[in-house]
Symmetry: D2
Subunit: 273 residues, 4 copies
């Protein structure tokens, strides 16, 4: 016999742009939102009984209606409002709102330029009693031309990598951090981002791992309200080109940037009392 042991459903990739015109200069908020609900929806699956199945189209409409009413000063506050609302719908036990915020840089009071592919993220989950808020960023691509080494690693029968005391280090930072209960100073994300960038740039790196750990510590130091931070750092390898066949040296100057394969280093750093 087969039994439904877990289910979740919702609407994904709701594209929402809000323009605040009541202020000068205009302000713009650009979000992609996912709504996902868990609850007592088993009969939708097992019996084809839709009487408890809030349509995903209704979820989308709800997002747009809330966007008109709410200021969306911070994406987290907006997501909390949505999560709390959906959590009160009949049958819902947990509502999860994920949002990606696409940043724009002001050109002029009413004009903007997109600041690359980097995005702010947040995941707000409510079970009716408690709301958890995990924010983050992704697509923050950085590179340093020195102060990065990788040596002293074990050598076995499959090891061919030479040791190096000076290499290019490049990555695309993905990070998520958990705010403490009751925290609401969401503008602090800028300080966290700055701490990540500064540490990446300044650290004398023995490995991606060590730099990741320093970055995580710096982020925790930058915002008291963060309980823990997770970092995922793909190692975007830049391989030194062998120019010797052409009678040329290559003093760490000419590199091939590769996409596949890549190292992937992940860790979580947690604040301790």
């Amino acid at each position: 016999m087969a039994v439904l042991t877990w289910n979740r459903y919702g609407k994904s990739s709701v594209r929402l742009v809000k323009v605040r015109r009541t202020t000068e200069p205009h302000e713009i908020v650009d979000l992609t939102i996912d709504v996902a609900l868990e609850g007592t929806f088993d009969k939708v699956y097992t019996d084809g009984d839709n009487s408890a199945c809030l349509a995903t189209d209704t979820m989308k409409n709800t997002v747009y209606a809330f966007a008109r009413v709410e200021p969306i000063d911070h994406v987290e506050s907006f997501a909390v409002k949505l999560a709390e609302y959906f959590c009160e719908r009949p049958g819902v036990s947990t509502a999860c709102i994920q949002a990606a915020e696409h940043p724009w840089t002001r050109l002029q009071p009413h004009a903007f330029v997109r600041s690359g592919d980097e995005e702010w993220t947040t995941t707000v989950t409510s079970n009716g009693d408690r709301v958890s808020i995990v924010s983050g960023l992704r697509g923050l691509v950085v590179l340093k031309t020195t102060d990065s080494a990788f040596s002293g690693f074990p050598r076995d029968q499959f090891t061919t990598l030479p040791e190096t005391r000076d290499r290019i280090l490049a990555t695309s930072i993905t990070s998520t951090w958990t705010y403490a209960d009751g925290f609401s100073d969401f503008g602090k994300r800028d300080a966290i981002r700055s701490a990540l960038l500064k540490t990446f740039a300044d650290h004398k790196s023995e490995s991606v791992q060590q730099t990741l750990y320093e970055m995580g510590q710096a982020a925790l130091a930058a915002c008291d309200g963060v309980r823990d931070i997770q970092l995922s750092l793909p190692n975007r390898h830049h391989l030194l080109v062998d120019l010797a066949p052409f009678g040329l040296d290559n003093p760490n100057e000419i590199f091939v940037a590769t996409e596949q394969p890549f190292g992937l280093i992940e860790a979580r750093i947690t604040r301790q009392a």
Copy 2:
């Protein structure tokens, strides 16, 4: 104080093509492999001490060397070999091998054509004692032109969606299933795929949810060795175009295929004794 509470690292997107020439006709296996290890690697992060840090480049080399020696009859067996090997390296507590297999269709004894973007997947995890095998597929895009309804759902202040007894249903199937311990008849994946497809096509659907549940049941019925199956079905909405302004009717004939937003329906179905 900040403490390292979790870490994992490895090599991702190792692209491996193996040609078996000893048989006629030639056979080809096309894989993308990720290796990820957990273990006693804290000092790499906290002290910059790489003495326990197996280089991710070594992991890549190991994959290629194993590929030469192993037959790779099933991607699962190959991943098990890799997981068991890595799990025995110093300091490793858990080794996880993820593989995507890109299928090719034979044209001729030595020539092949790619069968679209659909992929077989497997995730093999070993902790030294126990090996878990979760296989699946993704990117299997299907559409039915009838036998799909969505009605009887609740209406609130934000509901505008009309009820329908006949709509297009389209999705891109992602599924993962867990094999029972000791299972090794991995060729059964074809029967699971067939069951998913046949059920999608034949089911009189009251919702994506109900069709998902039927598909999961059929997959469990198709392979005794599957303990549970998870399905993730994005609802690729096909919206009926309003042709009335142009003096034309539209008897369920002309649709806009949209990408954003999309419904997302997910569930797990588990075999019970």
Copy 3:
């Protein structure tokens, strides 16, 4: 002084799915259409005078209305109807319709599975007097495990590539072909595709270039109505992995599939009287 010396505008990526329900089994046509117009639109640019500027939204509506009325037996015939219609709008001198057809394979009378990323294409251009039809395909990914060599090429100071008499040859075929004026047997595209595939598979290749030329000749032979054919073949390099450091040979068996860089070979073959 700056002068407007060329302009074109239109609507792109109009997603259209037509279901033919009057027949059994159901049939489905899945198209992405671009409309582009040239004509006497200078004042739109230079004076902000929109009186001659057919809205691109109107173009989109026109596509959907025509889709209701036209059978769309062949994407080319449908594109011809649209091109001729748009060419008669005020101010239009040239109308260009580009269409990509996304193929589906039948599972059951009312259900279908997407046949990968391969697409049929057509570009129909009308200037009111004459209609040109250039059809094609793209994303047809093929690979052969033998019968491909590359040797005898010149060696200069920057050459390091070894000669080979046996390598993997893989490519993603993009091809466009021009039909003769008055040609209308558009179902012949299947024969052209088959000729391309069979020649790729059977040819004893001295280079991608030579195989391309054979493929083009075979395509012309497969359809009298084709005046010329253009092929664009990226060389998707599969590099032999050096396993010697691990004490293993590699008799053309283990390869890395790479994406960057890639060779790109292009040519046009024209029928001569």
Copy 4:
């Protein structure tokens, strides 16, 4: 009979990163380069005779070797050197070098952050006698919240679009411009980019077309050495959400950002004596 009437071949997507360490702070150049050659290569296609076929692998090596020797102060100068070199190889009649430059913003003397997906481009073509240089940019995404109208357009049986005097205007700018023969002040691209951005932001727009024309004029004014400029502006539609069903107004505040379909407006503006 079938005859080879055109051919071209080369290496695409050569990824090159050069670090200049001899200066403080370090400088980085990040390029993706395509080499394409035309010439007397017919026998490669028709006879399988590779004696004239410079290997595309050799082209790649040449790019890296030149990168070591050349300063790459401007991507254009580097591409000219490559084009002239390849044009002198046996059999080559035309060499075309395309380059995309991926910009990085300095964080610190030896660390950088990627400035989004925007890229500088150049296409340098040499036939041995004459070198043409067409530079540009792509992926520059901009949006304005007011000063954009679209009204006064013709209405026919398929027109449903309402007129508007105030809408969001968003686009991703792709532009290419041709430098006059002998021009070498390639740092002027920054002035061109600034002129495009400033005009987009400041223009009271009656249509994308009119704004495009103003942008092109401003670019020509910003750099005397530009002979003509081409702009391609997709209209990234932001649709006003109808909130009336929920009892809410929407005073140009809440929008859906859509990707498909999109308007596409293109033109060339040429300097006249």
